[in-house]
């Protein structure tokens, strides 16, 4: 609060004061008081007014400064009303009261929304677990009644399954921290498990697999990593027109272990490359194929960040894409006993 602003607000009061002093001075002069006395009296009156104003100015300034400082300090500004100290002047009291009431209303609204979101979240997770039962059942039906129809149906089921899994991990990605446990993992075990899980679609496309140098150990959560690998594998298959050739290789590089998945697919145009991990980005390839949601890679990179991994993409259009997951070597320190 600046003094000038304060005085500007007080201009009617100041005008009245000045008028009153002028009146008194005129009266005293009319009553033939000595000029020196009149001047002294006028000065005294002005001094008293000024002192009163200053006292008020400092009191208010203290309050508003404390208010501004609290606001500055708070990470969540909406809690301002909770840390307010009630001032000793009427305007401040009104302000505090208003702030408290609006703050509380906002809090209530927020709490209701959070509650609703948590309930929806819970419902989505429960729903996903429910829907897995008929999927498993349909899968078994296909297995038990082999034939052309079953094969074709199974491909659709796999797509459903992939979308369901994506939804589950999307829902869960909000609180990775609560469902996360770091273990010592061998990359070959991990990669082979992911490959086995996607065996059917890989075999249906007659994929050639190659493993190279996967005898490395990393420290990470297997469940999330399995999902990420699955998404990357599905992506490679989706953007490869001919016979897919997937190479999984690992090597050490500086202070990280790099796991790479190389494919011989369409590749990503250089102008699209920086944005492939953006939410909703489908790019040239996605648009052409029209089946891209722009969620898969976004989710992968978000999960990687939460898992302290680094996911990067490199590509030569027409030759293929290499996705790299970097496991920092010091991630061993994340290992919980």
């Amino acid at each position: 609060m600046r003094l000038r602003a304060f005085l500007k607000d007080k201009w009617t009061f100041l005008l009245c004061q000045a008028g009153m002093v002028a009146l008194l001075v005129a009266l005293l002069i009319g009553l033939h008081f000595p000029a020196a006395g009149v001047a002294f009296f006028g000065a005294c009156l002005l001094a008293v007014s000024a002192a009163g104003l200053m006292a008020e100015f400092f009191r208010k300034r203290r309050f508003y400064r404390a208010l501004a400082a609290s606001l500055e300090r708070l990470d969540q500004k909406q809690y301002l009303a909770l840390v307010l100290e009630t001032p000793d002047f009427a305007e401040g009291e009104i302000l505090c009261d208003v702030l408290r009431q609006t703050g509380k209303a906002a809090q209530d609204e927020l709490a209701a929304l959070r509650q609703r979101q948590a309930e929806y979240h819970e419902y989505i997770e429960a729903w996903i677990h429910e829907v897995k039962i008929p999927i498993a059942c349909a899968d078994l039906l296909c297995e038990n009644h082999p034939g052309e129809l079953a094969d074709s149906l199974r491909e659709e089921l796999e797509r459903i399954e992939r979308y369901v899994e994506q939804a589950l991990y999307y829902a869960r990605s909000v609180h990775v921290e609560q469902d996360y446990s770091v273990r010592e993992l061998r990359l070959d075990t991990l990669v082979k498990a992911a490959v086995k899980k996607h065996a059917r679609s890989l075999i249906a496309r007659n994929t050639q697999l190659q493993f190279d140098g996967l005898e490395q150990t990393v420290y990470c959560d297997p469940k999330w990593l399995d999902f990420i690998l699955g998404q990357l594998i599905a992506n490679s298959l989706q953007y490869t027109a001919g016979t897919p050739r997937l190479t999984f290789c690992a090597r050490e590089s500086g202070d990280a272990v790099l796991l790479q998945l190389r494919d011989n697919g369409a590749g990503i145009p250089p102008e699209d490359l920086p944005r492939v991990f953006d939410k909703g980005f489908t790019g040239e390839n996605g648009r052409r194929r029209g089946k891209s949601t722009g969620i898969g890679l976004y989710l992968c990179s978000r999960l990687c960040r939460k898992l302290h991994l680094q996911l990067t993409a490199a590509s030569t259009p027409g030759e293929g894409t290499t996705m790299t997951i970097a496991f920092p070597k010091d991630s061993r320190s994340l290992l919980q006993d």
């Binding site: 677990h129 429910e130 897995k132 039962i133 999927i135 498993a136 059942c137 899968d139 078994l140 039906l141 297995e143 038990n144 082999p146 094969d151 399954e161 469902d179 996360y180 446990s181 082979k192 490959v195 086995k196 899980k197 065996a199 059917r200 890989l202 075999i203 249906a204 007659n206 994929t207 050639q208 697999l209 493993f211 959560d221 469940k223």
Partner: protein
């Protein structure tokens, strides 16, 4: 080999039974879920397949109860893949853990692995029409003559023997091989099958594996 199913979804259970019986397992199952653990034990199975999301009863409680009285292998099935679920299953003494929806081939691979670990190796049908597979020595025998097989050839022959009489599609065969860490592609499979055929022919079992055009193999 006898598997006892604890699964509340009737249709799923029916299909599981079909699948497992086709693979040569004998199956029993529960339809009511009271006192499940005791009844499962009474079934005297070699392996219990337990879905932990049961109506009215806590699946983990069942698992603990089974483990308290017996060390029969338990394979836990769940539709939740959270850390907690896995931890619970393992701490309560389950032998393995698989998440729905599982692919049938993966389920079968898990079952075989659990049985093997429990020292109940799958009683593979190792003989058909005079051809015998001695898996331990990696040999096939026919009419007193023997031939040595590579790992891939053994796995192929073993799968065909297990499904003797039925047409096995190339995709199915490849899926089964992949589940046992043999990641062959189409060409390699052809080469391996042809080599296996030649070896069997050398010991006198000519035309043991027949090709059904566009369908797969049959013995």
């Amino acid at each position: 080999m006898h598997i006892h199913l604890i699964e509340d979804d009737g249709k799923l259970r029916g299909e599981l039974v079909k699948l497992l019986e086709r693979e040569g397992y004998r199956c029993t199952f529960e339809e009511e879920f009271e006192d499940t653990a005791r009844r499962a034990l009474a079934a005297g199975a070699d392996l219990i397949l337990l879905d932990v999301n049961l109506p009215g009863e806590d699946g983990y409680g069942v698992c603990r109860e089974i483990r308290r009285h017996s060390d029969v292998p338990v394979l836990v099935v769940t539709s939740r893949s959270t850390e907690l679920d896995e931890l619970m299953s393992m701490q309560l003494g389950a032998d393995d853990f698989i998440v729905k929806p599982y692919h049938p081939q993966i389920l079968l691979a898990h079952i075989a692995a659990v049985l093997k670990r429990a020292g109940k190796p799958d009683a593979d049908r190792a003989q058909y029409k005079g051809v015998t597979l001695h898996a331990a020595q990696g040999r096939a025998a026919y009419a007193g003559r023997e031939t040595e097989l590579t790992k891939n050839e053994q796995k192929i022959l073993s799968y065909l023997l297990r499904h003797a009489g039925r047409i096995v599609s190339r995709d199915e065969l490849m899926q089964a091989l992949w589940q046992s860490d043999v990641f062959v592609d189409d060409n390699t499979l052809t080469v391996n099958v042809n080599r296996l055929r030649r070896k069997l022919e050398e010991i006198g079992a000519a035309d043991f594996i027949t090709t059904k055009r566009g369908q797969g193999y049959q013995i």
